[in-house]
């Protein structure tokens, strides 16, 4: 079966209707629109500074070939030159004066030819400017930002998993006075996003002496109503006789939580962990308000300040953007099905 035949057969095995063609056309445009910008970023991030300034831009990262010629300190840019006698030859450009360029034959450095600049064309090859990636690592504090982001993401996720699962455990396994009130209180915090309490949380964090500390980013968002809700729904489905049996064996309540309920809740914990990593890695407004010293910047804040400072240094900025995007993309490639079903089931992001 040819590719076209495979594509032309729908799942039901019926013939293709015009609506199917329309659907595929719509989806194809969607792929270009949703994925194209990221591909464009990836390609652009390997272009040299000069390559980025070119207009119209080239699709692939191209750069002009250069050649080392005896008698010249710097490598000379190579051009394909149309000589006065009608032949073309690849030559290096020694200098350019106005509309004239002085060209040198690399094989015969002593001979120079003057040609009009519109009689020559640059010789180009595909070249990946990996220095876009390596240089910022040395010149800026990129590694520190990366480290800060990794620290915030990991520590915050561990705290979130621990305290939210403890609360979910209490709310799902026990019957106790005030349970519904506690549940309503926790769900009620959904109505109070950080955008509404930005200034007072800043005061609280300042009072705790945490300004410019990564803990100021980690702590305020550690308890999440969605996390408690997600874990509680899952724990409610666990069989109760296991817990009763453990109590008979004189297990403490802490052991029941840590040794029985948590291991059984691993699927729900994994979903919450993925969400927490996504939230923390991408968080912006709150860190922006609370981190003012560049030593404590996270990746997102560092990237934002790059684009403020280096208005023209797109070659570094694009490479750094690529590096910031990469971990999330890798997670997505491996856990895509897991993430999408998790979101479809819980309706949270």
């Amino acid at each position: 079966m040819s590719v076209v035949e495979v594509l032309a057969k729908t799942r039901g095995g019926r013939r293709l209707h015009w609506t199917d063609y329309a659907a595929y056309a719509y989806l194809a445009i969607g792929v270009v629109l949703m994925f194209g910008p990221v591909v464009w970023l990836a390609l652009s991030s390997f272009k040299t500074q000069a390559g980025l300034l070119e207009f119209p831009p080239t699709l692939l990262p191209m750069s002009q070939k250069e050649v080392v010629v005896q008698g010249y300190d710097k490598p000379l840019p190579l051009f394909r030159v149309k000589l006065p006698d009608g032949t073309t030859k690849v030559m290096g450009q020694a200098r350019r004066i106005g509309l004239q360029a002085q060209m040198v034959d690399p094989a015969d450095p002593a001979k120079r030819v003057n040609v009009a600049i519109d009689q020559r064309e640059p010789v180009r090859e595909m070249a990946f400017a990996t220095s876009n990636y390596t240089e910022p690592l040395r010149r800026f504090d990129f590694l520190r930002y990366l480290g800060n982001s990794v620290f915030v993401t990991i520590v915050a996720t561990i705290i979130t998993l621990l305290i939210n699962s403890m609360a979910a455990f209490a709310l799902s396994i026990y019957e106790f006075p005030g349970r519904n009130a506690a549940m309503v209180t926790i769900i009620g915090t959904l109505m109070i996003p950080i955008t509404v309490i930005l200034v007072p949380v800043y005061l609280v964090v300042t009072s705790l002496g945490l300004i410019n500390s990564l803990w100021a980013v980690i702590l305020p968002g550690a308890a999440t109503p969605t996390g408690v809700f997600l874990l509680r729904q899952y724990m409610m489905t666990l069989p109760r006789d296991l817990i009763e049996a453990a109590r008979m064996d004189k297990a403490s309540e802490w052991q029941i939580y840590a040794r029985i309920v948590l291991p059984l809740s691993l699927p729900a914990l994994a979903v919450l962990a993925i969400f927490s990593v996504m939230w923390r890695w991408n968080e912006f407004l709150w860190p922006l308000a609370v981190l003012t010293k560049s030593e404590s910047y996270t990746l997102q804040i560092g990237l934002n300040s790059f684009q403020g400072e280096l208005q023209v240094q797109w070659h570094y900025l694009l490479a750094m953007t690529m590096l910031t995007l990469l971990p999330v993309s890798l997670v997505f490639v491996f856990l895509q099905r897991f993430i999408t079903t998790g979101i479809a089931n819980t309706g949270m992001k």
Binding site: G30, M166, P200, A222
Partner: protein
Amino acid sequence: LAAASDQEDVSAAAGLASGLWTTFVKLVDVPMRRLQALIGQRNMPYMFLLPNLAFFGVFVFLPLAINVWFSVTGGSALFLGQRPYVGSQQYAYLFDCGSYLDPSSCREDRFWRGVQNTLVFTFFQVTMMVLFALVTALVLNMKIRGRGFFRAVYFFPVLLSPVVVALIWKWILQRDGLINAGLTSLGGQKILFFVDPSWAMFWAVFVSIWAHMGFYTLILLAGLQGIPADLYEAAEMDATPAMRVLWRITLPLLWPNLMVVIVLSLIKAVQTFDEVFVLTGGGPGSATLLIVQYIYDTAFANQVQNFGLASAASVVLGVVLFLLTLIQIGLSQRGKTA
């Protein structure tokens, strides 16, 4: 071989993690047993709730109260003791307007520009995004090949950070960028998108839709797949036209999900900050200044930090969000009982 050693690494890491966890559980068990003996098993659930509620208390409920206090005090001091009580002065200042339809007639014109821009932004962002998410979900729900792939492609931008999203588009939209290359190759003129107020707002809405559409598509797709297949089979037996199936079966049954998506995206849109802030910085002038950026600027970025005014503005925003959330809860409750 490489894969095998990778697996060994993973299992070694998992082993280490579970070892650490076991030790941690044992260490914590000693004080927890004491505690349980002291207060009794009956009261243990409160201990499990305590950390979470303490976090909510310190970082949500206490700030909520402080917020109101901030909004009725003046001065530029951060600590409450140093702030003089001014009553409703901050609110009066915010709402001092010649005409609410004309921000330039207001004393705090940036606030009202923020309100106006947020209304425009929210209207277009929510209507266009829900429309495209719905169409995309309907298409993805057809019997097509590669559904998993297409679903993943539409969802991918949702995971990207707002800063990355904004920088990707800033690069594409810049003066010598991809869009302008396309325009000039078609014989057009370059457009400075971030200098023209209407274009800046257009791209703010566009980029925001690009970044978030996949999330709502996913929720709608889950809703569509929950519609019983026998309804469609019955319609097929009766040879019902496709449009009629859409209007009479699909959309009515999807309505509860659609309402949730609309209200949820409204709540998010009103709070938009990140991607628009990085993309346009609120500019040109204040053409794309949204309400959350106004709060951020007023409290943290302006020369004089005006915490009182920022708090008053965020109380106003909070009331709007509260009403929207009540609507959402009402809708999802009705969806459950129906």
